[in-house]
Symmetry: C2
Subunit: 701 residues, 2 copies
Amino acid sequence: MSDLSFFHEPRSVAVIGASSDPEKIGGRPIKYMLERGFTGRLYPINPSRDRIQGIQAYPDLDSLDEAPDVAIIAVSGASAVAQVVRCAEVGVKGCVIMASGFGETGDAQGLAWQSEMLDAAARSGMRIVGPNSQGLADFASGSILSFSTLFTEQPPQDGSIAIVSQSGALCSVPYGLLREAGLGVRYAHATGNDIDVTAAELAVEVLKDPEVRLLLLYLEGISDLEPLAEVARVALEADVPVVALKGGRSEAGQKAAASHTGALATEEAVVDVFLEKHGIWRARSTGDLVAAAPLYLRRERPRGDEIAIVSNSGAICVLAADAAGEEGLPLTVLSAETRADLTAALPSFASVENPIDVTAALLTDSSLFGKVLPILGRDGGVDACVVGIPVAGKGYDVERFARDVAAFEADTDIPVVMVVPQSSIARVFRERGILVFPDEAQAIRGLAQYLRHHALIERARARRVDPGGRAHPDGPAVTLNEAESLDLLERIGVPTVGRVLVGSSDEVPAALERLESERLVVKGCSSAITHKSELGLVRVNVDRDDVVRTTEEMIAILDGEGVATDGVIIAEMVKGRHEGMLGARHDPVFGPVVMVGAGGIYVESMPDVRLLLPPFSFEEAKAAIGELRIAAVLGGVRGAPAVDVDAWAEAAVRLGEAMLDPALGIRELDVNPLMLLEAVDGRGGAVAVDGVVVRSAAAAS
Amino acid sequence: MSDLSFFHEPRSVAVIGASSDPEKIGGRPIKYMLERGFTGRLYPINPSRDRIQGIQAYPDLDSLDEAPDVAIIAVSGASAVAQVVRCAEVGVKGCVIMASGFGETGDAQGLAWQSEMLDAAARSGMRIVGPNSQGLADFASGSILSFSTLFTEQPPQDGSIAIVSQSGALCSVPYGLLREAGLGVRYAHATGNDIDVTAAELAVEVLKDPEVRLLLLYLEGISDLEPLAEVARVALEADVPVVALKGGRSEAGQKAAASHTGALATEEAVVDVFLEKHGIWRARSTGDLVAAAPLYLRRERPRGDEIAIVSNSGAICVLAADAAGEEGLPLTVLSAETRADLTAALPSFASVENPIDVTAALLTDSSLFGKVLPILGRDGGVDACVVGIPVAGKGYDVERFARDVAAFEADTDIPVVMVVPQSSIARVFRERGILVFPDEAQAIRGLAQYLRHHALIERARARRVDPGGRAHPDGPAVTLNEAESLDLLERIGVPTVGRVLVGSSDEVPAALERLESERLVVKGCSSAITHKSELGLVRVNVDRDDVVRTTEEMIAILDGEGVATDGVIIAEMVKGRHEGMLGARHDPVFGPVVMVGAGGIYVESMPDVRLLLPPFSFEEAKAAIGELRIAAVLGGVRGAPAVDVDAWAEAAVRLGEAMLDPALGIRELDVNPLMLLEAVDGRGGAVAVDGVVVRSAAAAS
């Protein structure tokens, strides 16, 4: 594992292109380091000044008595390149290159410059952050190698949150929002073009700091999987939740991302399942990235996802319950004892069912929250509380409410989120470190994120570790015909339909002896033909007596198409109660991906699919199937029996294992339909009746 | 139409239970009216004081020289009742009853008191707001008949927004949020128990004010349809958009609402379609209710829903494009001319595709927004702009940006929403009346609401007016058997399968002569049996030669069940390419409801349904079908032909008309499946092959 600690605690920093103007790019890092009490040696480099911002300046690197640990490159173009080369030569450990106009422009000059700098760095072992980097900031050590204006607008305060972003703006925005909410930020790193040091590598570095308790990531694109998997692994080990925002979820967003950074358009559903599998929460907006931050800073972890809602307004009780319903957060069914205690504590006209409406009596009895919350805490079934105070102000003892909520949070491991639309009232709670949202929907959404993310982390922790490092298959590929595809499926452990491949109708009688079903399916087989049905190459429900004739017709059709005929498949007729689908392919970034979904002819027009990243367990496969829309009918409706979902999940696991086996060389695989049979005594089976496999030519031969 | 104008501009107001303490319920209205310069006569009524808050007080109503237009009842329980009765006797026009402890408690005393007050009011023609009302506030006239503490916390400012809420808290919350955003509010009405004057009636009253340009409604429950339809009608006429929040969307929310106010649990999907049909936007949270308010106050109405995104951060461009994708707002494809103009105006490395990344060059060229926005305005395809400034502060000419955006909004009819996370920067834009959101997702969501709501209003305007006033059918009902049900469907214009009902197998030969299809369906017919298939009472694909035997078997099964046998249906075999469903019933509040959906046996387990409120047009029915999940396959996929969606929509329209015909007395109706046939030359048909109708006994006899 690389050591980037010199960026966080450099003994010495040179600022090449240092400016006396503290608002210039070459001036701000100096100003910030002086303000933050950076204890290392600081060397402004500027050939035309003796002193800069009150400290001694130097004409060039060679005038220094030492090779500084870090050099900030605040000059641009060719002179940035020259300075980086010189830094490497004198033994600088790391450069932060702020200038833009390199790889991100896509032009040849910029790319050539990047190569030149990388080469120089490689020769000396120097590391490069950037170019096009806003820079790195460590507010614990005062090593502010960054020109973000936000550190002026929102003065820093050290804390437990780390931000690592590939974009300067998306480092500044969460920094600003967190600081505005009064939260401390320890690291605010914006990496830029990532030609050497990547955002993921820096994220791993900040996770070494035991003070970090929440990591926020912004990724422009994901071009390499392993570093991100490493971040997830280290974060799980350090018990630091990671919330990631990645642009390009929509088609328009992907197009914009491509024009912005040339980021590879990855399939977003794969990104989702990758992050989920690794216990990383995917935020959907900049607001989402920071919304639940204070909850993550709690020492205690949530126990479950059942919530209680308390308010002095019945309307807010109703609306918060609606929001919980929308987010799928269950409301705790309170125990009889809890309800009895609430009845004793509350006015007779209050509601002691969850949500709990303490009514306007709060105006005359300021102790109500202080009474109600501990009762809910003792219930045992309440994992989090939402407290809504839509109306307060004069006459209300808001200080006391805040004290009571804070005391409850301190005494129990139950988090509280407040719904307080009035900013003057919200402030009183925020000052005590209580998380406040202006409306019930945002509060429930933030809480749901926190509770669900915790469950995600727990699941990721329980999962076997992905060994990773699989090469993307390349070289020539071949498409197997249906018979070969079904044979391969059988070999990897996916049950297939009983069948015999015949070369001519002469072989039919022998074939029929090996097949059990009364009626049969006859299919022309050729790897050159993808849409068999349209050509009349699939006949179902064929009588045993008609198979010879049908086989001859198939051969005639194949001959008529002028394609290579691989024979005719005589298969047993299997009709599942439902039709599933299994698929697999290799994502260029994420590697093998397995799909489970509803089968049939509408897989594209009415898609109902979930993804799995191998290796995955039987339980994971079953959970993915359980999330399909058709899951609602697989258990049997209107008296129909359940189908054998276990067999489907097992077939998916087998396929996942096969995708990890380079010797098999499976590039793409489609089984549709996978006939789902009735579960008899819990067993029934899932049978592939049609399939196509594309394999690496080398493996197939 | 009732006249409630005396609540808005009373010549005189008595406050019964007037208090010298301006923080008491009986003190606040007086304080507020004095502060707001109420020009009518104000009579504090309190037997133990000569003067209250500096003005003369009176011992009782009888000491006044006149019957005041309005009396605020700030005393409680039995004395509130006595005062209301006296008000009615002396000729007060309207009372606002603030005390709680009446109908909302559900106890007999409270309900009896309500009746007593209503009776007294009815005798004299006096109107009652409340009880349990926070009161009414008109900030134009200064008639503040309300004790909301929020008017102290957030001082009033007259404006163009009206709030009418059944809940005090949900009147105060939007008031506070709007005032905090610097927006003026003219009316802030909270009605309470609505025993006489309803929120809807007051909403119609405020819509008479030509200054009102946005109406926000909060409804606890909808027990009566016509008043709300009237609000919608008047609002459309006055061109005032209505945004409504109604609690109880979720099951938990409905339960909470029932315990809070005893509100009737209406089916929320019906509420959705009712509001949509009437051009009312349904907000989903308190934040939603006010989020887009400033956009609604614009004089110009939006032209379409295509947006352009502009930012100095590529990351925000990507994230805003993602948010637009999520909300379904299309990004304008800019014309070649626009792109050429942008190329000329922007640095070479900026993106001139939408989203438009003006890059960090904004720091050195403050004119960029001022240049880019007018170019987008001239494009002709841009209906709204989203401008993101994630990072600004020192060095940025934010004042100029705000000036340029404001000028653009003033010069064109194109609304702009800003994404500005830093509150210090956001303030600069807000001061110029520009709508600012802290993150891109909220901005796009607010904009989408505004643009979509406008389209909703336009559609509502184009719709024929619902005559309304239909009584809910009652009295005894009968379930028709399948034969009778299909006959009724045929009669109302829904195409049905060719069939003959036979009483015995003797009638089969004659029946067969009247049926065309080669193979037939034989079904036992009895209104006493609902699940025919389970009893073996449905045989499909029956050979003509087997019909006699099958008919005899059916009769035997029916006899074996010991139920009344209504005969056996011999029907033609119709297999649609897809199976649809048609249904209808009466909602106790909303009246007749028609359903279109995917048919088959999974209508309950995988529901795919849209609702329609009769009367509706062919186009509306077609649009509803187009929103179904199965719509994706109805046009034909993988070479399959399209089905006749028009025939389905026509059948739905016929059903809608039938539901409005009281003579038919249709209570409930289910057609499943409705076989959807291939469209041949645009025609093919939709054929009901099974159906059940429940009719009022009187109509059926």
